[in-house]
């Protein structure tokens, strides 16, 4: 998936690159002309008030919501042509109840391996090991056999993060992982995020407030009414020098 530039040097394409991204939903302009490149290793916080288009932006980056104009690429390919989905781990806002059929924590987390599994191959030792370490990372190993829907909101959020971790992707896209989450889960999330950034993973996360995540963020953008109000890599430089204390 590398692009050879005319000069001859091979460069890794950016995980996400959107130019002039415009999304119209039910007659309303939700995103208006977003230009955003997420570089490998970025830990990008997408911030802004309710209804600013934060979730729409990350869904548009993943190709889950089509652009009405502009274009977006995942590792250099249009979402419809992108095939290497095992490089991406998407953490949605919540675990849908669906029709109410229960699923154990382990079943939900195991489903994060699906992009790495072939249809004809049974679950391997590597699959099981990845699920085990994902459960460990979010501190839910002891709840593996419980019904995921009966956990608290914060624990469910950790289950969703563990599902993405189990797929061992390079890029994590998280929709409000801290919303309505108890202190223990926030701490678990911050710990997980620290391990990911230490391993050089790329993270895009939507959030209202940074809280304990602030020291880990390398870049933040603020959306307002579907426009980018602020792109501050500067905040980053500032924060990284003052380890632990947000400005």
């Amino acid at each position: 998936m590398t692009v050879i530039h005319p000069g001859g040097s091979a460069a890794q394409p950016a995980p996400f690159e959107m130019t002039g991204g415009h999304v119209r939903l039910e007659g309303r302009d939700v995103l208006r002309g977003i230009d955003l490149t997420v570089e490998p290793g970025d830990v990008l916080a997408v911030m802004g008030p309710n209804g600013a288009g934060k979730s729409t932006l990350i869904k548009a980056l993943l190709g889950l919501i089509p652009l009405s104009s502009g274009r977006t690429e995942i590792f250099g390919a249009a979402p419809a042509r992108f095939r290497d989905w095992k490089r991406i781990g998407y953490v949605p806002q919540r675990l849908p109840m669906g029709g109410g059929v229960p699923a154990t924590v382990r079943e939900v987390v195991s489903s994060g391996r699906v992009a790495r599994q072939s249809r004809w191959r049974p679950t391997s030792a590597a699959d099981r090991a990845a699920v085990d370490s994902a459960l460990e990372a979010v501190g839910l190993s002891h709840r593996a056999r419980d019904s995921a829907h009966l956990l608290s909101g914060g624990q469910q959020q950790r289950v969703l993060i563990a599902r993405a971790l189990a797929g061992e992707p390079e890029v994590f896209v998280m929709d409000e992982p801290t919303a309505g989450v108890d202190a223990a889960s926030q701490a678990a999330l911050a710990r997980t995020l620290r391990d990911l950034t230490a391993a050089g993973r790329t993270v895009v996360l939507v959030t209202h407030e940074l809280g304990p995540l602030a020291p880990l963020i390398t870049r933040s953008i603020v959306l307002d009414h579907g426009r980018m109000a602020n792109d501050s890599a500067a905040l980053t430089a500032h924060l990284s020098t003052e380890t632990g204390t947000p400005a």
Binding site: K59, L62, G63, L64, F82, R83, D84, W85, K86, I88, Y90, P92, L95, P96, M97, G98, G99, G100, V101, P102, A103, T104, R106, E107, V108, S111, G112, V114, A115, Q117, R119, W120, R145, D146, S147, H149, L150, L151, S152, G153, G154, Q155, Q156, R163, G167, V173, D182, A184, S185
Partner: protein, 294 residues
């Protein structure tokens, strides 16, 4: 019990009941989680037109039902994906068209008795050939569940996550609808088209009162399916009742027992498991209400 095994048609019907009891809840687990509990009903209506076409053209009614109901299921899925608002009415049109078409086409062919047997099930008319067809279809359905189970699980959990994992979401949606259509055809001789969907939904609704996982729900539902299909059939032979309603009422009785058993089980669990500091996001009582609601 031994008396009814002396009849050829009962031996065939009992094997069929086991196959139906296994397949309908297996597919039903995905259908229920996808909030398509009434899909089987709709397909049942459409299948009737297939039966009418089969009888009219002198072909096998099972073959006609299979063809038309799979096409109908694909049409339903395409309509659902196209538009959320218009799909509801389009589905209704398809269902009523299927039912009306079936009644008209079967009208005048051996006095409507065959229509009655397809609507509510009849076992005395089942032949060995029917059994072979049903057995083949049942193997196909269980094979699809085994092969695509992992992908279908994620699809039914969260369609967006499935798409962001690179799964062929449209293909899988059509696959599960078509598999439901095949299941309807498997079950129609014994249970009847109007009740066929009950065996996809009721055992699953009963099982999820007692289980914590998806796979365990499916396995328990299959157990309940086989139990109610076989004992419903035996009861209908013993007391000369139509098999479909007997099977469905038995499954409903299991559901009621499961609700009571599940409540007791949850009380015991909450007493033994120390309560966590944070509140549960949803209770299973809410989940239950959602299933019952549709």
């Amino acid at each position: 019990m031994t008396e009814m095994l002396q009849y050829d048609f009962m031996r065939i019907a009992l094997v069929m009941a086991v196959l139906i009891g296994l397949t309908a809840p297996a597919v039903g687990t995905f259908i229920v989680q996808r909030k398509l509990s009434l899909l089987g009903d709709g397909i049942g209506h459409i299948a009737l037109t297939g039966i009418g076409l089969g009888l009219l053209t002198g072909n096998s009614p099972i073959l006609g039902a299979l063809l038309v109901s799979v096409l109908g299921a694909v049409a339903i899925e395409v309509l659902r994906a196209r538009s959320r608002s218009g799909a509801d009415v389009a589905l209704a049109l398809l269902f009523y068209g299927g039912l009306a078409g079936g009644v008209l086409l079967t009208n005048g062919q051996d006095g409507g008795t065959s229509l009655q047997s397809y609507l509510f099930g009849s076992i005395s008319s089942v032949s060995a050939t029917d059994l072979y067809v049903v057995a083949g279809l049942a193997v196909a359905v269980l094979g699809i569940v085994a092969l695509f189970g992992r992908e279908l699980f994620l699809l039914c959990q969260d369609e967006e996550v499935a798409r962001a994992a690179g799964l062929p979401v449209r293909f899988l949606s059509i696959l599960i609808a078509a598999t439901a259509a095949v299941t309807v055809v498997i079950s129609m001789r014994a249970i009847g088209l109007l009740l066929v969907s009950a065996l996809m939904v009721v055992p699953v609704a009963a099982a999820q009162q007692l289980t914590r996982g998806f796979k365990s729900t499916m396995l328990v539902a299959m157990g309940i399916g086989v139990l109610s299909a076989v004992s419903g059939l035996a009861g209908s032979f013993e007391y000369d009742l139509p098999p479909g309603p007997s099977i469905v009422l038995l499954a409903l009785a299991v559901f009621v027992a499961a609700v009571i058993g599940g409540t007791v089980l949850r009380r015991m669990r909450t007493r033994t498991v120390p309560a966590t500091a944070d509140r549960p996001a949803r209770t299973s009582v809410e989940a239950e209400a959602e299933v019952l609601g549709g």
